[in-house]
Symmetry: C2
Subunit: 354 residues, 2 copies
């Protein structure tokens, strides 16, 4: 056990080195272009240095547990899923017009505020921040794809890897699009719709893609890949349900995110869906989605949501889903190391505080 | 000549069929997701049906002229450059906050106006249109990359093709970023800066990528690829200089674009750079970049630009550049068919009215 742990640490270090190396190469290439373009690449390096690296770790651990032996392949695929994550996070912030991420200014925020300091009007500075983010996301998406397309693997694996990447981007975009659609409230959404959106937007790229890529690259059987797909989606939904709870009731010092932001955005979650059926909701409904929601009104909204029983409902749903996924993990024909890894991952997704 | 012409028509038809087929596959897959997501794919199909298809034609013609014989490879690479063009155009409109393109509403415009018709507030509807466009661009970028990564070609060609794609996205993003930067006027820009921006933003992906991809896929020599690169960049700059002239002095019925939009945006072009040195500029300077510029003031601005000699200067620059590129084409060691093609292309870029 301690041998395999130190082996994993070593791979994690190789991963970090490779990721920063790939980005540094591009930053150096950007020196032949404009100064702001190099600053954009520096921001991307900074962003890649942070983060919890959940997705690459899931991929590399699973690859090893499934008997994969080509470290270079695992590390490059891990870099690709991390870069895809960065791309989606950046574009998600553009869509939500967020200028902060994890308690710090994001790329849009930094570029906009620097331009304002230099005297640019607020509106133009925001457009500059947004343009910078949009292009940064495009660059990360391209880089992710590029790393996967260059993996030195057999032709049939390569086709499978490209299929997974395409399907992942396709589905994440579908979930993101549906998320914005639901937040416009043009049609009534029920909890099934919200769960489907969560599943597409987060589970597909965060858990299914890393696990299935690992399995394909390690040469796993089709039936094992199918079992992993089901498990990955379930874990992804647990992860996102916890995220929604933390977004409203988490400790801002841990999450790095204001408990007002989801409420201001009018984000459709299961908590909101449940709270709507409470008579008290009608009294606070107009506050939901209000860009300028005050701290006091945010407090009021959260109290109505909590007293509706929504929090208890979602907590019990998470518990139920954890039990389900743990049963699936036990019943699946997985190597012991992978079974342990997935159980730990499920617990971590449930009990995380940030 | 008539044989090779009908052969080209046939390839063009195969290209159109393949392009629409690739998109239709995705639209069908989107049926398992939300209704608006399918509408997004329908919008992309509609967009792909239009357009002048300059880039794929350049690629396919050059491939044939250079002795390439694998039609499937040429057609898929041609689809990839067209999809990349669509991706960049969509994201360019997001960056410029444009809702129209070629006299029609673009994706952002259509999604926003439909949401407004259904009662969504203006601001939310615009955010929805913008989110839809941003995701549409991501999907097109992914699809372009995916087609190139799957070409059935020798390994060394595949690496070269992926390198070209990466470098093209890298450089187009650099040019787009620099364009937005220049329009903030935080630093004085001279004509060299503007020409460099044009070169990066347009010439790289519109002319260099199609020509160099064709050459690599047809197995051309490194020296021929280098000659083509220089020629392609020159043609790209001519194309863009003509674009800037048409943007201010073109016939709106042909260009499908208001002669006010570049002026409202504060777009830095060589015309503007030249006009700035005229004493009369100071009288109209405040109008340049004004979002709400009136038709009468637009007229005033254009007159100052024209009377400064800017239009004549840019026209003579285009003429000079055309002569230069034609000389390069004559001196390069190219097959006759390619030489003819490039000469025709240069003339078309110069004399186009739309």
């Amino acid at each position: 056990m301690s041998d395999s742990t130190s082996r994993l640490d070593e791979v994690a270090l190789t991963f970090e080195t490779r990721l920063m190396d790939v980005l540094a190469q591009r930053r150096k290439r950007s020196l032949s272009f404009s100064v702001p373009y190099t600053q954009l690449w520096e921001s991307l390096e900074r962003m890649a240095r942070g983060g919890k690296k959940i997705r690459p770790r899931v991929l590399m651990d699973a690859y090893q547990a499934l008997g994969g032996i080509d470290e270079r392949v695992a590390v490059d695929a891990a870099c690709a899923v991390e870069l895809l994550h960065i791309a989606l996070v950046i574009h998600d912030d553009v869509i939500d017009k967020d200028l902060m991420r994890r308690g710090e200014m994001n790329i849009a925020g930094r570029f906009a505020s620097e331009a304002m300091l230099r005297g640019t009007a607020r509106r133009d500075a925001h457009a500059w921040g947004e343009a910078s983010s949009l292009l940064a996301g495009d660059l990360m998406l391209t880089l992710a794809h590029s790393l996967l397309a260059r993996l030195e693997i057999p032709e049939d694996q390569r086709q499978a890897v490209l299929d997974i990447f395409d399907a992942t981007v396709f589905e994440s975009a579908a979930g993101e699009h549906y998320d914005v659609w639901l937040s416009m409230h043009l049609e009534p959404a029920d909890s099934q719709d919200v769960l489907a959106m969560i599943d597409q937007k987060t589970a597909a790229y965060s858990f299914q893609a890393p696990l299935v890529l690992a399995a394909v690259l390690a040469g796993a059987t089709t039936s094992l890949i199918e079992e992993l797909t089901v498990i990955a989606r379930q874990i992804g939904v647990i992860y996102q349900l916890r995220d929604d709870v933390l977004g409203l009731f988490g400790d801002e010092r841990n999450t790095g995110k204001s408990v007002l932001s989801d409420l201001r955005e009018g984000k459709e979650t299961l908590l909101i869906d449940y709270a709507r059926s409470d008579p008290a909701w009608s009294e606070v409904e107009s506050l939901f989605g209000d860009d300028a929601l005050s701290i006091a009104d945010g407090h009021r909204l959260r109290r109505v949501i909590e007293e509706s029983g929504a929090l208890m409902f979602v907590e019990s749903l998470i518990t139920e889903r954890c039990a389900n996924v743990n049963q699936l993990i036990q019943e699946a024909t997985l190597p012991t190391a992978l079974r342990e890894q997935l159980t730990t991952l499920t617990t971590a997704c449930n009990s995380r505080i940030s």
